[in-house]
């Protein structure tokens, strides 16, 4: 199958390991990604705290491009991006006046017809059974703590994905692949996200809690589907250890990493060696 | 084809399975085949089968005088047969008390035959000959109506005024229709005479609206009404419009599925329309 693809800034910058992983993994599943031509930033955390219209216009332009190119569905692997795009879509599709206004602003006809989906939803479309059958390697000995973070399931009205407080879709997929996901407490807690630059103290503390709780419940790795989460839990893990005199040694995978490994892809092909915490 | 047909009928009469066979007879090619009612095995020679057997004989099943003759066998084409299905759904016939002899038909060179998808009977007890039923897309089946509806509304009104102007209220359309079986037709109902029965334009509109709508979701498109109209009024158009809407809105094609519910008399909460405020 072919599907529209919106990488977003993170995947073309700090988190290109995530993009590698997503592309490799989906290619192996026969999903062709058609990158949105001339896409722009989704507005992320900044836009909507500055100006409501801007917060709609930025993602709306991308939606408009997708409609122009006749894409019915677009994958945005970064939950912040997918959420912003979905939010814009909700607002637009419900309000014809807004459609015209925004179309005028971004100079692209936008009606909010294109569906947006996150990484997990793509796997669901491919079908967990199909993925299981395509897998060449069981993820035995893998006891992941699935970490959804704040955005994958929120705001529930907008993203309409899984149980917003108690999601289980990653667990279901990984158990299909032979892993033994642990039951733990912090799957939808915040990791500090954009605070990484602004307020390190906070994100270190939040990260520490998450890592500790995952370990306490017997996890031997974390699984995320968000570049920010990965930064805060992987890149910052050393800092966490230092700050709290802890000894976390928690590998943090992207969901696509584990699926990719199960499909027999080489860690390098998935960009895993680029992670900071690497299992020796 | 004719021999096996006659043989089947002879056998049915001989072993007493039925007391009467309703089929086609014809004296000379010049005159259309007419219905014959065979009660003696030796008379099956009167039965004919040719590309002129357009009439739908199902109507005769309902006639009291025919019923009086005993258990019937009836010769039907794949298209006529659909009328039996509707009569069965509307509890007018007991299918188990009728032997249906379906004859494969390659068309009776009528317009409807070009878009027919029932050359081969489906529900008959005995099937004579073989023909293949190819799927016909809806737009083809309703093409005749489609063309007509391309005319603007006033033209359509003008057309019907001109057509119905000619109607002489002979009610042949009703008499010939296999699905007009009421004990007392609405037009014979007085106190109140709810519709104008005069042979005037007003009365004619009233009648043809009622006739067409009473067949809504029921008409099987045998075109008997158009065929018998002495004025050659194209009643088929009205029947088609009801049939097309029933199929479009309710996925119903009358006479094709004995299990289906009647269109009027049932409903779905999901029924869709665009015109109710």
């Amino acid at each position: 199958m072919e599907i529209g693809y919106y990488p977003g800034c993170a995947l073309h910058g700090s988190s290109n390991d995530y993009e590698m992983s997503v592309r490799a993994c989906l290619a192996a599943l026969g999903v062709r990604l058609r990158e949105l031509d001339d896409w722009i930033c989704c507005g992320a955390t900044a836009a909507h705290s500055l100006n409501r219209k801007l917060a709609v216009a930025l993602p709306a332009r991308n939606l408009g491009l997708a409609e122009r190119d006749g894409m019915h569905e677009v994958l945005a692997p970064c939950p912040m991006c997918s959420m912003q795009l979905m939010k814009a879509r909700c607002l637009l599709s419900a309000d014809a006046a807004l459609q015209d206004e925004i179309s005028a602003i971004v100079e692209v006809e936008v009606r909010g017809t294109t569906r947006i989906c996150n990484l997990i939803q793509i796997f669901q479309q491919v079908g967990y059974e199909r993925i299981r059958d395509a897998a060449v390697q069981r993820l035995e000995a893998c006891r992941p703590a699935c970490y959804y973070g704040c955005l994958l399931t929120r705001p529930p009205g907008v993203v309409q994905f899984d149980d917003c407080e108690h999601p289980t879709s990653m667990e279901t997929l990984l158990s299909e692949l032979g892993a033994a996901p642990v039951e733990w407490n912090y799957k939808t807690e915040c990791c500090g996200a954009g605070m990484t630059m602004a307020n390190e103290a906070t994100i270190l503390e939040l990260g520490h809690r998450i890592l500790s709780n995952a370990a306490a419940h017997g996890a031997n790795c974390l699984v995320v589907a968000c570049p920010m989460c990965h930064v805060n839990l992987d890149m910052k893990q050393a800092a966490v250890n230092q700050r709290f005199a802890a000894a976390h040694d928690m590998v943090v995978y992207y969901l696509s990493d584990l699926v990719g490994l199960a499909l027999g892809l080489a860690p390098a092909a998935l960009g895993i060696p680029r992670h900071f915490v690497v299992r020796k | 084809m004719l021999q096996p047909l006659r043989e089947t009928c002879r056998r049915l009469l001989q072993d007493g399975t039925v007391q009467v066979v309703i089929g086609y007879g014809q004296a000379v090619r010049a005159v259309e085949p007419y219905p014959v009612f065979i009660t003696a095995p030796d008379d099956v020679g009167q039965l004919v089968w040719n590309e002129q057997c357009r009439t739908n004989l199902v109507k005769y099943l309902l006639r009291k005088e025919i019923r009086a003759l005993g258990k019937p066998a009836i010769v039907v084409k794949g298209c006529d047969e659909r009328a039996l299905v509707v009569l069965q759904q509307e509890l007018q016939i007991d299918r188990s008390q009728i032997v249906v002899i379906g004859v494969a038909c390659d068309g009776m060179d009528e317009p409807r035959c070009e878009v027919c998808d029932a050359h081969q009977p489906r529900f008959a007890d005995h099937i004579i000959g073989h023909a293949t039923n190819e799927m016909q897309p809806a737009e083809r089946r309703y093409a005749h109506l489609g063309e007509f509806l391309e005319r603007p509304l006033p033209d359509r009104m003008a057309y019907w005024k001109a057509e119905l102007e000619r109607c002489v209220k002979c009610y042949a359309c009703r008499q010939a229709c296999p699905l007009c079986y009421c004990e007392r037709c609405i037009v014979e109902k007085n106190r109140p005479a709810c519709l104008d029965t005069s042979a005037t334009l007003k009365g004619n509109f009233a009648w043809h609206i009622v006739r067409a709508f009473h067949l809504a979701g029921r008409c099987v498109g045998c075109d008997q009404c158009s065929r018998v109209c002495p004025e050659g009024i194209d009643l088929r158009l009205l029947n088609l419009s009801m049939a097309r809407e029933a199929e479009a809105s309710f996925g119903h094609r009358s006479g094709t599925d004995p299990q289906a519910e009647l269109v009027l008399g049932s409903f779905s909460q999901q029924d869709q329309e665009q015109f109710i405020r």
């Binding site: 529930p156 009205g157 149980d163 917003c164 407080e165 108690h166 289980t168 039951e183 407490n185 939808t188 306490a216 | 509307e90 509890l91 007018q92 079986y181 009421c182 004990e183 007392r184 037709c185 609405i186 109902k189 106190r191 109140p192 709810c194 009473h214 519910e261 009647l262 009027l264 008399g265 049932s266």
Partner: protein, 666 residues
């Protein structure tokens, strides 16, 4: 009909302001069939009605049209007035020249012209009205009550005490319902069983009550006053007449692992068991899925022990028929299944509370069992996981209720009181314990209810936090409850030993199926619909079927009991006469013309059309025709529009009347 009187009302200024009443009356006087035309300032007043009565008598009117307000306002009034003079009330019609005319058309000329038309229409109709007599339906003076909870028990006893035989059908092995499992009840804290058990015993011993337990209604035929009910008595495997209820059998039963339904899984029971000590009937039942004999063919210890020889493994389901005149549905409620997905999208959620994952997160009904002296812990509050006495307990309101995102938009009504009660019962048993309550609002409307909540807070020191709980997690043996206190304006985390979820009330399982059997409609949540929310609260749109208790909507005990008595009252009222009188404006078939296609039967919302056989003198079946059951027809007329030959017609809106009305506008 040609002696019609038209009575035009001024309604003070209401009509007269915009309608020239005098001129209307004059024009009306010349309408075909009109004998006389009168006016009055207030036609509905006593003098107004007297004018009508006198004129009817003086002019020997055989039809009356009142031109005044809406028939929904006064048609009954005027029909009564006519009746007093001996004129059949169904010969009276109204023209609505107030709501539909003077009040909405300020232009006098137009309003006046329209008023005349409206009268013209009414006159045209009344000319074809027929004198009608109310329909009389014989009544079987016997009632069926479905559901043996407190509502069903109350209804059954009320009816039985009035000397009318009642059949009470209960799905479970014992009556008592949810109330039997409660510890104490608000706002008096009197022991639930102490007040309920005597009533249950009364039911068992009442000469007018036939009790079927382990039974369900299989089928309902017939109509108001004349229902034929089929009841499925599920195999109990016990001869309850021989059985003495001594209890030997369940003491020896080796299969002890089945979670007890009565204790909501907090305790276990044997395969042959009495659901609870005070069960009525006080007889055991065998769980066919747990019994070793019935599943594997082994065992049979109970048979050896039973001196009465009451055990019958060969027992089969049996169907019994009952004829009743009225049905009361009292099937009660069940709790919202926390965290377990029900209907896709809607009745699902609260997985984050860990119900079913954390043994110490329980529902409020389970807590009732923990507090109850007859419960699995003998009334000591010990938490399920390790039997320790919880020192901190968190009660959470509105789990499932008032939350469109996670399920149900409605308020379950009892939870606020239940929580308050629970905090008290807890405090009274664990003096050094601390109860916390998370709530959205405290809804304590009711006699002594708010005082009760205040007591929980002020005397028994429960901590009430106005806010929701976002998540419950388990860390080293304790439940970490994370929520927010919106009044303090800060997040709040409580380490608790036990968490009690006040889950929403939902209608009992299978109520939809039952509703369809008795032709009662139900709302999107499955609660049965009353006929009118204010004026007909226990009636339904199915004549002769009544509702009470939580099957109609969330309710506490007092309300359920009140409603039950109300329903019983309605039934007794119905039975107070040996015949029912129903509106005669219903459909009827002209059988000579009916072609017997039975499209009318397919379309009838009330299953009011039967098939009748027409036979000749020799008794030979000629044909089948439609026939209207006057006990069921509600007079909607759908059949008339469906009938092609118009062989079915509707009194009060007959073809003749309707066409006459249209024609009059020519």
């Amino acid at each position: 009909m040609a002696r019609i009187g038209v009575f035009t009302c001024w309604c003070g200024e209401n009509i007269a302001r915009n309608v020239d009443v005098q001129s209307v009356a004059e024009q009306a006087a010349h309408l075909p069939g009109v004998r006389c035309s009168r006016v009055h300032k207030y036609m509905c007043s006593d003098p107004g009605q007297k004018l009508i009565r006198d004129t009817i008598a003086a002019e020997q009117l055989d039809g009356v049209v009142i031109a005044s307000c809406s028939p929904h306002m006064h048609l009954k009034t005027f029909r009564k007035a006519a009746e007093h003079t001996g004129l059949n009330p169904y010969l009276v019609e109204m023209a609505n020249i107030r709501e539909h005319c003077s009040w909405v058309h300020p232009e006098r000329a137009r309003a006046t012209a329209k008023a005349v038309d409206l009268i013209r229409v009414a006159v045209a109709k009344v000319r074809h009205n027929r004198a009608l007599e109310p329909i009389q339906v014989p009544v079987t003076r016997k009632a069926l009550v479905i559901g043996g909870g407190v509502a069903g028990i109350q209804a059954a006893l009320d009816i039985a005490d009035a000397g009318v035989p009642v059949t009470l059908v209960e799905r479970e092995p014992s009556i008592g319902g949810k109330m039997a499992g409660l510890s104490e009840t608000f706002p008096t804290l009197d022991c639930s069983q102490c007040i309920l058990t005597p009533r249950m015993v009364e039911v068992a011993q009442h000469p007018n009550i036939t009790l079927y337990t382990c039974s369900e209604v299989e089928q309902v035929a017939g109509y108001v006053g004349n229902f034929q009910v089929t009841i499925r008595k599920r195999a109990r495997y016990i001869d309850i007449d021989k059985c003495t209820g001594c209890g030997q059998c369940w003491n020896v039963c080796p299969s002890k692992k089945t979670p007890s339904e009565f204790d909501y899984g907090l305790g276990t029971r044997t395969a042959i068991y009495a659901p609870f000590p005070q069960a009525v009937p006080a007889r055991p039942v065998i769980d066919r899925d747990a019994c070793l004999r019935l599943t594997k063919g082994r065992c049979g210890l109970c048979v050896k022990k039973c001196q009465a020889g009451a055990i019958r493994f060969e027992d089969q389901d049996e169907l019994v028929g009952e004829n009743v005149g009225a049905i009361i549905v009292a099937t009660g409620y069940q709790l919202y299944e926390i965290g377990k997905p029900g209907e896709p999208g809607r009745i699902a959620g609260y997985g984050e509370y860990g119900y079913g994952r954390y043994p110490d997160v329980i529902s409020s009904l389970q807590f009732e069992r923990l507090v109850s002296a007859s419960g699995p812990t003998g009334g000591e509050i010990r938490r399920p996981s390790d039997g320790a006495i919880p020192k901190t307990v968190v009660f959470i309101s509105c789990v499932g209720s008032r939350d469109n995102a996670k399920g149900l938009s409605y308020c379950s009504k009892i939870c606020c009181m239940v929580n308050a009660k629970h905090t008290m019962l807890y405090k009274h048993k664990v003096h050094d314990g601390q109860a916390h309550v998370f709530y959205m609002d405290i809804r304590a409307g009711g006699k002594n209810y708010d005082e009760f909540v205040r007591r929980a807070i002020e005397q028994d020191g429960a901590h009430y936090h106005r806010g929701r709980v976002s998540k419950i997690t388990q860390e080293d043996g304790r439940l970490i409850v994370r929520g927010v206190d919106t009044l303090a304006g800060e997040p709040l985390t409580i380490a608790a030993d036990l968490v009690v979820l006040a889950a929403a009330m939902r209608p009992a399982a299978g109520v939809e199926e039952l509703a369809q059997k008795v032709n009662v409609s139900y709302d999107e949540f499955g609660f049965l619909c009353e006929s009118h929310p204010k004026l007909r609260p226990v009636e339904t749109n199915a004549a002769g079927v009544f509702v009470c208790g939580a099957c109609q909507g969330p309710k506490d005990i007092p309300e359920s009991v009140t409603q039950a008595s109300a329903a019983a009252g309605k039934v007794l009222l119905m039975f107070s006469r040996d015949r029912l009188y129903r509106e005669p404006e219903i459909a009827h078939v002209q059988e000579s013309a009916c072609a017997g296609c039975f499209t009318c039967r397919r379309g009838c919302p009330y299953h009011a059309i039967d098939s009748a056989e027409i036979r000749d003198r020799q008794g030979q079946l000629v044909r089948r025709v439609a026939r209207v059951n006057p006990g069921l027809c509600m007079g909607c007329g759908t059949c008339v529009a469906l009938c092609l030959s118009k062989s079915i017609d509707l009194e009060g809106s007959s073809e003749q009347q309707v066409y006459a009305m249209v024609e009059s506008l020519r």
